[in-house]
Amino acid sequence: MSKTLRLVLDVLKPHQPNALDFSSVLANLGADYRVKLTVTEVDKNTENTMITIEGADIQFDEIKEAIEKMGASVHSIDEVEVCGTELTSN
């Protein structure tokens, strides 16, 4: 069973909630999650963002659900770092 250590997501979000509240919600999904959000483009209604999430075992389904609940959408998974259980047991 593999564990996801790092995800970089291309997310399109509305202006509200703002970047700080948005990333705080994602960070609170896991005890050791570190979230970095970079706004790449802004238009009248939306913002394009790159969100980097790091942790010991990232649950993508929960993150996707939280993002959609806030009115945003995951356009693509741009980067992934995953490790197998044999590596983590070492």
Partner: protein, 195 residues
């Protein structure tokens, strides 16, 4: 996750609060001036029947409540739905189950209640001297005069509130709205001479 959701809900409520505050002042002012006008009319006509006065004013207050709730709900619902549609087009997602979708359903209700309750509660407060007189309490002036004074005080305080919002000197702001109310009373008393 529950705390996160509450925080996002608060964000949406705060956005609606500015609109609700505007409605509260506008319709509250309407309610106060309507009561002031009716009470001045009753006083100028020499009427002393408290039951008729209270019933008539309650009828007007109820109509203001229903008008406030329905008009605000319909217009706010249309605005929220339009905003949601625009956002859905921009994001290319269905937002019905998101916080935005929920906000478009419950925030119009919140704004409508503020818009309706504002004139109703203010009217009930202004009419309180009439109720108290009907219950047998007596005051220095006639109940109509007391209610008119209460109405003028409420309108002055509205002006003070508006001054605080607009960051202007509270006294000038209060006096401005008070002058409007006194002018209303004066016009009604003047017109009564021609009836």
């Amino acid at each position: 996750m529950i705390l996160n959701n509450q925080k996002i809900v608060v964000v949406h409520v705060l956005r609606a609060w500015n609109i609700a505050r505007r409605y509260m002042v506008t319709n509250g002012f309407d309610g106060a001036l309507t009561m002031l006008g009716m009470l001045t009319g009753f006083y100028a006509s020499g009427m002393t029947d408290l039951y008729v006065a209270i019933t008539a004013c309650l009828g007007a207050a109820t109509a203001l409540f229903i008008s406030g709730v329905s008009s605000a709900y319909l217009s706010e619902k249309a605005e929220r739905e339009q905003e949601l549609r625009e956002l859905e087009q921009a994001l290319v997602v269905d937002l019905r189950d998101s916080d935005y979708g929920q906000a478009s359903r419950y925030l119009p209700i919140f704004v409508a209640l503020v818009n309706g309750l504002s004139p109703l509660l203010l009217s009930l407060f202004i009419l309180s001297p009439l109720y108290l007189a009907k219950l047998g309490y007596s005051f220095l002036f006639s109940p109509f005069i007391n209610a008119i004074i209460l109405g003028l005080i409420c309108i002055f305080l509205f002006g003070v509130f508006l001054g605080k919002i607009g960051n202007t000197f509270w006294l000038w702001s209060g006096l401005r709205t008070l002058i409007i109310a006194i002018a209303t009373v004066a016009i009604i008393l003047f017109l009564e001479r021609f009836i």
